[in-house]
Symmetry: C2
DNA sequence: TCCAGGATGTTGAATGTTCAATCGCATGGT
DNA sequence: ACCATGCGATTGAACATTCAACATCCTGGA
């Protein structure tokens, strides 16, 4: 608002930032390409299916699904529409609150997820966890949580990848 | 190739992974929205302008610019086309190798970048560095570099944000 | 010299995401 | 009971990215 008091990044921060940006961009791209190539879906869709797969009845309200996948409602709505066309997800109206819609993973959707999971997890492992020490895994978790707490997300947990 | 030997994520890895995915997704979204709102450009375009701004003559070959911004050539070509329409970047042919094209930051582009930089850096600081200890900044750099080394990127450096 | 193969860059179509507007429904206050 | 307000979800248009195909040019070897 008033004077020019921008605090620029110091050299340590700058290096960390550049490495971080490059690493996340490339990692994201690698995961996306692997899934697109081997399973015909982008990473965002895999995450939707994965979240649904781990929940009772494989069903969630659209708004809950949006929250758990860090997606806007609009984005999720478009995504579920496309997943529905592929037969991987089914919409069902909610009788208690008729504004709500349930999204349910179909059998075909579960099968597609189960087929995609090993390749996806393998890629995550190869590109990320195989290169980190156990200490670094903990550090990554703590750093991520610190960022989340600044974006209005409680330190709670969630689910992904596949059920046990 | 043979039996089902998928190594799933253990609980530590799983937690780290879920936190990481949520944090990067939300951080990316926050940075993108801030820039779009305050400067009318997505983060990817900011990074293109920032890289050009820190290089002699504010000029790079398209392929170099693609490499330094972790972008595919196609993506960069589309992006530069749009930046050119806005008057922020100019293309120039390369006489030594006529397959190549130079991309040069215009004065207007530099002005747009300079106007956008304080808000962008402020957002990075608020959402990321203000929440990390100095140790964690170093950890983040090391983790990112470990990932980069597994994706065919040398541990070298690069530039971003703005020149000094 | 000639040409095969690789490098550089662009293009169009298909796909995915964002933004703003909108619709129907629920809730709480009067 | 009424209605203002806000929530849940969807839609269409604009925007951005990916993928495959293409055009152009360089390079090295026969």
């Amino acid at each position: 608002m008033s004077g020019d008091e921008t605090r620029w990044l110091d050299p340590e921060e700058r290096e960390a930032w550049l490495s971080y940006v490059a690493a996340t961009t490339l990692l994201d791209g690698a995961l996306d390409r692997q899934l697109q190539r081997d399973a015909g879906m982008p990473l965002a869709y895999y995450q939707i299916l994965a979240m649904l797969s781990e929940v009772p009845n494989r069903t969630l309200r659209m708004s809950e699904l949006a929250a758990i996948t860090q997606s806007s409602q609009s984005r999720l709505s478009h995504a579920v529409a496309r997943l529905e066309r592929r037969g991987w997800v089914r919409r069902k109206p909610c009788s208690e609150d008729r504004r709500s819609t349930f999204a349910q993973l179909t059998e075909e959707g579960y099968a597609a997820l189960a087929a995609a999971a090993p390749g996806h997890v393998g890629t995550v492992r190869r590109h990320l966890f195989d290169r980190l020490t156990p200490e670094q895994v903990g550090q990554l978790r703590d750093i991520s949580r610190a960022v989340l707490s600044g974006l209005g997300v409680p330190g709670g947990d969630a689910r992904d990848v596949l059920p046990g």
